[in-house]
């Protein structure tokens, strides 16, 4: 039996299904992220694990114990909130020691443990401060220490970095992962930021409209998206309308130009499908042994370390590609007609008739 198991968990608010048929088995010490746009049900699922929401159906088992109907204060679950939620009337030390004081631990033990945690989060001299005297990043580290102080069975983090600056976000992200690895604590992390989910997690659960779209390692999620939604939500993706020529030989046409795909797909000749292609798979110029297609440059955007070029193959078939920004790079101009290439194992055929429209709708919603 897994350490944390959610079985057929559902949550309805009136007629609206916030979470439908959620099934997850997380092992002890695993770092699992729930990734999805606003309103996809990721926070509701986390809140059901914490006990703040009661599932309409299904069970939640933690370390072999069914906690579905337990009140939140009897679940031994540590939680970190987006808004830090530190107690403004208490010092940092009192905040961190709160969970231990609730458990009526002796004050000497609380003091020692608070000291250990302040060391762990690299704020050893801040115990006497009040939350308002600290920066956002420091406050969130205190909140993390508070959630870890009483040695919870599982650590839940609800978009903990969303309120912070970009630089602090990246630094704290690394720190969270290091601490999690060091303590070996089972962690569930909610985010709408794919970079966070991919960089932190052992496994990612991609969610949309209350449903699980895909569960997998960051590598699987990024490279082998199971649904058009995952393909569009995780990473930047080119979605091109295509037509199957011969599925057996991996041949199809994109904007009337022949393309060969190494990954297996099925379907009869003439059938409309979508081809998903990551920008980093595409290069400028003509290359032997590659798929070479021609189009017109419609945009050249300088993004710092990379330059993103948009090439229109035909109406509705636009390919974005990334080139590393090197001083020797010769960039095409808008309206130039150029050839671009990508390997046969680059594209992924998405076997859904109306996939382009549905993905575009999902992208618009996200």
């Amino acid at each position: 039996m897994s350490y944390l198991e959610l079985t057929d968990v559902q949550k309805r608010f009136g007629d609206v299904a916030a979470v439908a048929d959620f099934n997850l088995k997380a092992e002890r010490g695993e770092f699992v992220s729930f990734l999805g746009p606003s309103g996809c049900g990721k926070t509701t699922t986390l809140r059901m694990i914490a006990g703040f929401e009661q599932p309409t159906a299904g069970t939640i088992v933690l370390d072999g114990v069914d906690i579905t109907n337990r009140p939140p204060n009897r679940r031994n679950v540590g939680m970190v909130f987006q808004s830090y939620a530190l107690f403004p009337n208490m010092t940092v030390a009192d905040n961190i020691g709160f969970g231990l004081a609730v458990r009526k631990r002796p004050s000497s033990e609380i003091k020692t443990r608070v000291g250990e945690l302040l060391e762990l989060i690299n704020l050893p001299d801040k115990g006497g401060r009040y939350p308002y005297q600290l920066s956002g990043g420091q406050q969130q580290r205190i909140a993390l220490a508070r959630a870890l102080a009483f040695e919870p069975s599982v650590l839940l983090l609800d978009e903990p970095l969303s309120a912070l600056d970009a630089k602090i976000r990246v630094a704290l992200r690394l720190e969270i992962r290091q601490i999690q690895r060091r303590l070996g604590i089972t962690t569930v992390y909610v985010t709408h930021d794919q970079e966070e989910a991919l960089s932190l997690s052992d496994r990612v659960v991609v969610m949309s409209e209350g449903r699980m779209e895909q569960v997998g390692t960051p590598f699987e999620i990024y490279n082998f998206p199971a649904t058009p939604f995952v393909a569009s939500f995780v990473g930047t993706l080119n979605l091109l309308p295509a037509s199957i020529v011969d599925a057996g030989r991996g041949e199809l046409t994109v904007a009337g130009q022949p393309v060969r795909v190494a990954k297996r797909f099925e379907g009869g000749g003439g059938r409309s499908v979508s081809v998903a292609l990551r920008p980093e798979m595409v290069s400028l110029g003509n290359a032997d042994g590659m798929n070479n297609v021609t189009g017109k440059v419609t945009d050249v955007s300088f993004l710092g370390s990379i330059v993103r070029i948009r090439v229109t193959l035909a109406e509705g078939a636009v390919v974005s590609l990334d080139e590393f920004n090197e001083p020797t790079l010769k960039l095409p101009s808008v309206d130039d007609t150029i050839t671009i290439n990508f390997p046969a194992d680059g594209p992924l055929v998405i076997d859904r008739a109306a996939s382009v429209e549905s993905v575009e709708a999902l992208i618009a919603e996200a």
Binding site: A50, G51, F52, P71, P72, N73, R74, R75, N76, V77, G78, M79, F81, S83, A85, L86, F87, P88, N89, F98, G99, V102, R103, Y130, P131, Y132, G136, R146, A147, F150, L156
Partner: protein, 293 residues
């Protein structure tokens, strides 16, 4: 080569322009016109409050040959200390009972029953709709007859007096506490406490109460001021030792002493409020600064 300094000069000029624009905004905000209007309003307000006090003070020192005779007589009168002490004690008990009822109610309404807020607000406004004289008659009619004969004993009457004052305090206490709760993230703080293992009692006592301390202090101010000066309910419940009835009785018999008593009680009430404000100050600073972040 000449373009560099020219651009630099222009840029410097632009920055100066921005700074000047900022300064002019500041000047406009604190301009002489605005400042004069503020002073006029302040002076009118001050006159409105201070002139009656000055008038009362001059009236209280018209005793001859000793201008402070009224004050000396009042302070020597044991009824004064008894009345003020009694009313302060009733006020403190009223504040405690009111807080025990209002803080958990306002907290629960904000946390779980936000739809009930208009109903609770309406109920707490009832003392403005039902005059004290009607309230006290209702209490006497209900609690002077069996099965609850409370007016027959001292304890029972005191109980009724506190109960009536608690109701009178509702509009002030509820609004003050509710505003305090609005300033903190009640839901997240509650959930944070719950996830750390705290039960409802600890959440209220250790997390909610301390964080709405300033709001509680302002509700307590108003309640104390109302209770110390209240006449109708105390009089009808035969609590003649209370400060309101004592003051009224004094006014019927003495020309200058009521003015002296008014000023002394005014000063003492302000002193009590000042003490409460002083003890609540630390919490207010912490909460407000934390909120600003």
């Amino acid at each position: 080569m000449t373009a560099g300094p020219a651009i630099g000069a222009r840029a410097a000029g632009a920055i100066e322009g921005i700074e000047l624009a900022g300064a002019s905004v500041k000047r406009r905000r604190r301009g002489p016109g605005g400042s004069l209007a503020a002073w006029i309003i302040f002076i009118i307000g001050a006159v409105y409050f201070i002139v009656p006090l000055i008038g009362t003070f001059f009236h209280s020192i018209r005793t001859r040959p000793d201008p402070l005779l009224a004050y000396k007589q009042v302070l020597a009168d044991p009824k004064f200390a008894v009345g003020l002490g009694y009313s302060f004690a009733v006020g403190v008990v009223t504040i405690i009972v009111s807080l025990i009822i209002i803080v958990p109610t306002a907290y629960w309404v904000r946390l779980r029953l936000p739809r009930l807020r208009p109903v609770v607000e309406f109920v707490t406004l009832m003392p403005f709709v039902v005059p004290p004289v009607v309230l006290v008659f209702g209490l006497i009619r209900t609690y002077a007859a069996k099965p609850f004969v409370l007016t027959a004993t001292e304890l029972g009457s005191n109980f009724l007096l506190v109960a009536a004052y608690v109701i009178l305090s509702f509009p002030y206490m509820y609004r003050a506490v509710d505003t305090g709760l609005a300033a903190i993230d009640v839901r997240t703080l509650t959930e944070a406490s719950q996830s750390l293992g705290a039960g409802w009692g600890r959440i209220l006592w250790k997390v909610i109460f301390p964080n709405v301390r300033t709001a509680i202090v302002s509700g307590a101010f108003l309640t104390l001021a109302i209770v110390v000066g209240e006449y109708t309910i105390a009089n009808f419940l035969a609590r003649t030792q209370a400060f309101g009835p004592y003051l009224s009785q004094l006014g019927q018999n003495q020309p200058y002493q009521p003015a002296a008593v008014s000023l002394i009680s005014f000063g003492l009430t302000w002193l009590a409020m000042g003490l409460i404000a002083f003890t609540g100050r630390g919490a207010r600073q912490r909460v407000q600064v934390a909120g600003a972040r």
